[in-house]
């Protein structure tokens, strides 16, 4: 759908979207920003490897009817695959509509979780066009956002259990859902949030997500993002995080599903002591194209960033990693490490990895490294020399490569099983077995 068609559709359907008059004005301004910029094209260096033409050409359904009933049996079945305990703090969205909220009423004083629609109706705009400056897809999200969530924690508050946001897609139509998630932690607040994107084999929807994180001094956020869409789905996302002094963001980002996926992660370390620890694992095979673009701005002195992103590419898969670290002028005591490790399991797969450092200061400790390869022949021989067959040894080493990222999550066993199933790994022993003390 062209930007003009999108704009036209928004104008005619503005009343169907939630929010105050100020929200509507923001939507129109954001739409103008997108119409001016257009879809990012491959002529732009940041989009060299990823072509959004499938979106521009698609006949998108922008204002679908809410599915009935909510959640549908298909969504409920999908939800079960996430394996949450029944009392978990979970918000469930189906095809962009809020289906179940098991959380908001149960949180303590000073902790608020509201649906995006409620926030837009009651508070007004929660994100401005300036907040997404230079990010056309995020501007598009701002124009069309219907649902999502807003989490705020007051000073010193902490969540006793992680909050799960589950975005399930079941519709076979190429419909767009544009969820928005805002996380604002006041000084010294702590939270853990897990965002799941799941879809059925039939689902053909496009998710265009905007996640904004604002951490005040000393706040701590652990954010896990588990994207396991169905094989036909499209996914674009901007995670934008601003970190104040001594705050910390710990992100684990997994991409297993989707046909065309592009994630942009921007972290701004604004003040001394701010730290981010980002890790990701991508599995791309069977025609999947998954692109992760990271940008970390060290604006404040004595800020620290860690990145460890891994790709496993199988038959006809393609993974792109671009990690940019910018150390700004007049900063000192910066530490930045970046690792991009890639495993190519099939000759017809493709990996593009590009670490970038832009350093405009002297007192800096930066490292980066990228590896692209097949399994290590020496490790393979070592396992075989212990009696483990070739195929099982390969499976074990592939899983080991993934496990080092999955260990950061709260569900490594389930996710390991997902990796084994998706890549069809052969293993010598039950991988869930652990030594008993």
């Amino acid at each position: 759908m062209t930007p003009e068609e999108l704009q036209h559709s928004l104008q005619h359907n503005l009343a169907k979207l939630p929010g105050t008059a100020a929200v509507r004005a923001t939507r129109e301004a954001a739409m103008n920003a997108f119409a001016t910029a257009g879809y990012p094209t491959r002529g732009h260096e940041d989009w060299r490897y990823t072509d959004l033409k499938p979106l521009a050409d698609a006949d998108l359904v922008l204002f679908p009817q809410p599915p009935e009933p909510l959640p549908s049996p298909a969504a409920a079945a999908l939800m079960a695959t996430v394996g949450l305990p029944p009392d978990a703090y979970a918000l469930l969205f189906v095809d962009g509509y809020l289906a179940a909220n098991q959380v908001s009423a149960r949180l303590g004083d000073g902790i608020e979780l509201s649906s995006l629609a409620d926030s837009l109706e009651q508070i007004g705009p929660v994100t401005s066009v300036d907040d997404v400056n230079g990010q056309p897809l995020a501007a598009l999200n701002l124009a069309f956002a219907r649902e999502g969530a807003r989490l705020t924690l007051d000073r010193g508050k902490s969540l006793e259990a992680p909050i799960h946001l589950i975005f399930a897609n079941v519709s076979p139509l190429l419909q767009a859902s544009q969820p928005q998630f805002l996380i604002q932690l006041a000084p010294n607040a702590r939270a853990q949030v897990i965002v799941h994107h799941i879809g059925t084999a039939e689902s053909a929807s496009w998710t265009n997500m905007l996640t904004r994180v604002v951490l005040e001094a000393g706040a701590h956020l652990t954010l896990h993002r588990l994207q396991d869409h169905g094989p036909k789905q499209l996914h674009t996302e901007l995670l934008d995080a601003k970190l104040a002094a001594d705050s910390e963001l710990e992100l684990t980002s997994l991409d297993f599903g989707g046909r065309l996926v592009r994630n942009d992660i921007h972290v701004n370390l604004t003040a001394p002591g701010a730290r981010c620890d980002l890790a990701g694992l991508t599995l791309a095979s069977d025609g999947q194209h998954i692109d992760n673009h990271i940008r970390i701005d060290h604006v404040g002195s004595h800020t620290e960033s860690e990145q460890s992103f891994r790709n496993i590419v199988g038959d006809h898969g393609r993974a792109v990693f671009n990690g940019k670290v910018i150390v700004h002028r007049n900063t000192k005591g910066i530490a930045a490490n970046q690792a991009s490790d890639n495993l190519l399991l099939a000759a017809n797969g493709e990996i593009d990895t590009k670490p970038e450092l832009e350093i405009y200061a002297d007192d800096v400790k930066c490292s980066h490294g990228a590896t692209v390869g097949e399994l290590d022949e020496q490790q393979l021989f070592y396992l075989r020399s212990r009696g483990i067959g070739d195929s099982a040894a390969r499976g074990l080493l592939t899983l080991a490569f993934a496990t080092q990222i999955l260990e950061r999550t709260t569900a490594p066993t389930r996710l390991n099983a997902r990796v084994i199933a998706k890549l069809g790994l052969d293993l010598p022993e039950d991988p869930t077995w652990r030594p008993t003390p």
Partner: protein, 251 residues
């Protein structure tokens, strides 16, 4: 147990082993000594089945089977164990899992039932105590971040667990302090028996004071140039290798 006949091996078209003949009987411990570059490690790698070594001549029979026709995992399951000179680090695979997988692969191939978790843990704990490895080791990744001594003790732990018919120890003594060396020797000695044979590849006689070999061979220029009993090891330690090589040349 093992019969190596006129074995010649090349690596990248360069001949390393040149007609090596060695017979190891059941229950025997053989030491293979020799200067650097003589082909000691090549012999170990070829026996274990490593890729990249081209056998240009000769044969190796292990327990009556053609060893060279077997895959590395088949050799291991048949009872061949190589203690690596440089054990590999495998982040993301824990030690207990590797031990269990290795042991069960061997048992399955012999038609024996797999050990249940309880039996397995009991066996492992016993062996760990024997080589003085602490409990937390089990859930750590294979050799990742281990010191040189820990890696070698881990090789011995694997050997004790798998109880091979033929163990080949490739410079297991290198880089070890006296205490670690004693632990390694204790592990090896505990496995000595009428059904089990060992080949100790070493540069120094130090290990052979703790593990007494039945036979000592000198490997030089890709061939066994001298064989003897354990007194040969002591002589080599005193006099170096030059005289043996001279003798071999003039012979």
């Amino acid at each position: 147990m093992l019969a190596i006949k006129s074995l010649s091996v090349s690596v990248q078209n360069q001949a390393i082993l040149k007609g090596l003949t060695l017979t190891v009987g059941a229950g025997e411990v053989h030491a293979i000594m020799g200067p650097n570059g003589s082909g000691k490690s090549t012999l170990a790698q070829v026996l274990a089945g490593r890729d990249g070594y081209e056998v240009t001549n000769g044969s190796v029979e292990f327990l009556g089977e053609d060893l060279l026709a077997m895959l590395p995992e088949e050799r291991a399951r048949a009872g061949l164990f190589l203690a690596f000179q440089y054990p590999l680090e495998i982040p993301g695979v824990n030690n207990a899992y590797l031990l269990k997988a290795a042991l069960n692969a061997q048992r399955k191939s012999h038609g024996e039932p797999e050990l249940d978790a309880f039996e397995f843990m009991r066996l492992i704990k016993e062996n760990m105590e024997f080589v003085q490895i602490s409990q937390d080791f089990l859930s750590r990744s294979v050799n990742a971040g281990f010191s040189g001594g820990e890696k070698k003790r881990n090789e011995i732990l694997q050997m004790l667990t798998l109880r091979p018919r033929l163990a080949v120890l490739d410079e297991t003594d290198s880089g070890l302090d006296v205490d670690a060396l004693k632990i390694v020797a204790k592990g090896v000695n505990s496995l000595r028996g009428p059904d089990r044979s060992m080949i100790l590849i070493t540069h120094y006689a130090r290990l052979l004071e703790l593990i007494e070999p039945d036979h000592v061979h000198v490997l030089a220029g890709g061939r066994i140039v001298k064989s003897g009993d354990r007194t040969l090891a002591l002589e080599l330690d005193e006099r170096g290798y030059d005289w043996v090589q001279e003798q071999a040349k003039s012979a």
